[in-house]
Amino acid sequence: MLNPALVAPRPASFAILRREMLRLYRRRGQLIQPPLFFVLVAVLFPFAIGGDEHLLRALAPATVWISVLLATTLSLEDIFRSDQEDGSLEQLVLMAKSLPGACALKALAHWLSTPAPLIAMAALMSSVHDLEADTRSALLISLVLGTPVFSLVGTIGSALTVGVRGGALLLALLILPLYIPVLIFGAGAVRNATLSTATGSEYFFLAGLSVLAATLAPFATAAGLRARLS
């Protein structure tokens, strides 16, 4: 079920991804920012909840998921902002053979630049906190399956608010309600793993949401870009 529009002619899609990776590489110093922000937010929870080890362990899934969600939301604004400022967003909309395809690749590049390092950091932190093996695996699986929705739906929000004053806050207001199903099933999967009740159904939901987002979100992003540039 490969959507034809998404498979832009190979050189174009490769060029878009190559450009995003080059830009990522050129500001690789900033690549550390999302994971650092994630650790910072995750560290806040114990101060608020108190040192009770048992309670903290029970709330670990929520802490990780909310920190990942916030770190991703904050990084969404950069997806199109610099392109809009230097005029390359107009070139993309006008010249790209398949704009939805380009938007899908933009979302992929965002996933590689923010959620992916966050998942690595979550893996590191969960081993540091020596969570039980099945909790840790549930956490990583649910993050890998669920965070694509953050990037894909987030790209729609980023397109709709590109160039808008106070865009970051508006962007969060637009997309957070749409992130809630992922948060429910993501944190739910980890919580069920800690209670060692049967998980698995959550993974299917997360995977389903990601596939739905992967097929529909790029078209909404493309329409959003055309609406913003019109």
Binding site: A15, S82, D86, G87, R226
Partner: protein, 214 residues
């Protein structure tokens, strides 16, 4: 006056609103193949808005724009023949000049196999192929934009103030390219105040101020 080619681009009674402010209305003109249209007009008279509408980015609130009789909104042929260059020329500051040009060539995917090296040589930026675009002067940036015009095949050029930072040699280069473009029956609409060294036979002017006044 050259034999009048068939009308290629036809602008019919278009109107432009920004918010509730009227920028221009009842604007009609047509351009046949092999013509350069110099768009004159005071600041805010709608030169950029007109070019954005011609590119298809913006839609006129009234009237229509036809390419060989077909509204441009529904004409894929039109968009495959178009290059639009805004005031911010559309290259990424964190990529090198060559990477930017290769990217522009690749996403357009118009089957051109032109070499970026030759284009850069023509615009005199060979030495800068590895330089980050962000480090170039604005004149050099506009030269990179000229290299894109050489690289990406297009029958329609929409250029918004392409000359502002170009030196004399750069201006002559653009005029030479424009002449070559229209001689191979291309079309160019150029928003600029500076006089264009284009033979009168190929040149058409459109004054946005005079149009809205009448």
């Amino acid at each position: 006056m050259h034999a009048a080619n068939p009308i290629a681009l036809d602008v019919v009674d278009i109107e432009c609103l920004r918010g509730d402010a009227l920028i221009f209305e009842h604007l009609s003109f047509s351009v046949s193949a092999g013509r350069v249209v110099q768009i004159l007009g005071a600041n805010g008279s709608g030169k950029t808005s007109l070019l954005r509408m011609l590119s298809g980015l913006a839609t006129p609130t009234a009237g229509d724009i036809l390419w060989h009789g077909e509204p441009i909104r529904e004409s894929a042929r039109f968009h495959e023949q178009l290059i639009y260059q805004g005031i911010s020329v559309g290259f990424s500051v964190s990529l090198t000049v060559r990477e930017n040009l290769e990217y522009a060539l690749a996403i357009a995917a118009r089957g051109a196999q032109a070499s970026t090296a030759r284009a850069l040589a023509r615009v005199g930026l060979t030495r800068y192929h590895g330089t980050l675009f962000g480090r170039l002067s604005s004149g050099q940036r506009q030269r990179v934009a000229l290299a894109r015009l050489l690289l990406v095949p297009a029958q329609i050029w929409l250029l918004d103030e392409p000359l502002t930072a170009l030196d004399r040699a750069g201006k002559e280069l653009l005029e030479e390219m424009l002449l070559g473009h229209v001689e191979s029956s291309g079309i160019a609409l150029v928003a600029t105040h500076q006089p264009l060294g284009i033979p009168p036979g190929y040149l058409q002017t459109l004054d946005m101020d005079r149009r809205t006044a009448c």
